[in-house]
């Protein structure tokens, strides 16, 4: 199936934020310290992604990405992966909950077709089937 680049894949949001579960998907190269880092040696980029659990200690997250300055994310991962911020919004009742699965990948690639037709769909399926998210916040680097 070919997806038209002219078509905006808009999905309506019908719920209430205070009752909704939110997932984070970041292209900022975020992963757990004990997960394999992204392959920054490959000039074509890395098409893989990492699952990040909802109860992650944010101090156990890191960035592997060589196409932006992630010094600030190294200091506070929430500037690209706002998991602690999301928790605070949950405790305040602004959102209903934290999704069961979040995703980090490295948003640099020279393999656009493989990213768009492969990785992006795999990530969407991970979120759709495994996270119970009502909506997703996307961030880049």
């Amino acid at each position: 199936m070919t997806i038209s680049r002219k078509c905006v894949p808009f999905t309506p949001f019908d719920g209430e934020l205070s009752k909704s579960t939110i997932a984070i998907v970041t292209a900022g190269g975020v992963h757990l310290k004990d997960q394999e880092g992204f392959n920054i040696a490959d000039e074509l980029g890395d098409l893989t992604y990492r699952e990040i659990p909802p109860d992650v200690d944010s101090s156990q997250l890191m960035v592997t990405h060589h196409h932006y300055d992630h010094a600030d994310a190294d200091e506070d991962i929430n500037v690209v992966f706002p998991i602690d911020v999301l928790r605070e919004l949950e405790s305040e009742g602004f959102i209903g909950g934290i999704a069961k699965k979040h995703i980090g990948y490295m948003g640099y690639t020279m393999q656009l077709k493989a990213m768009y037709e492969g990785t992006a769909r795999e990530i969407a399926n991970e979120i759709d089937r495994g996270s119970r998210a009502d909506a997703v916040v996307l961030t880049g680097g």
Partner: protein, 86 residues
């Protein structure tokens, strides 16, 4: 038909705009690597995330980013431009 509502926080609105995101927030002047703000600025980070999630419930124009200014961020940066072939 399945689909998941999304909202993008982008610091490169022109570059992101090429992919026509369904909903997007551009926190004006934030530099690359500071999607939510600067390290430790939790109140600012919360406001950015509240504003981004809020776009889910608003009538936004699909494919276009909503720009919001956050004076507490401090020094501002020019976003990267799309490179065109000459």
């Amino acid at each position: 038909m399945k689909g998941i509502p999304t909202v993008l926080i982008t610091v490169s609105p022109e570059v992101s705009g090429q992919m026509r995101p369904p909903r997007a927030l551009y926190p004006k002047g934030f530099k690359i690597g500071n999607s939510l703000g600067r390290p430790g600025m939790r109140d600012l980070q919360k406001q950015v995330l509240r504003d981004a999630l809020g776009l889910l419930t608003q009538d936004t124009r699909p494919g276009a980013a909503v720009t919001i200014e956050y004076p507490d961020y401090g020094e501002q940066y020019e976003p990267p431009r799309v490179k065109t072939l000459s």
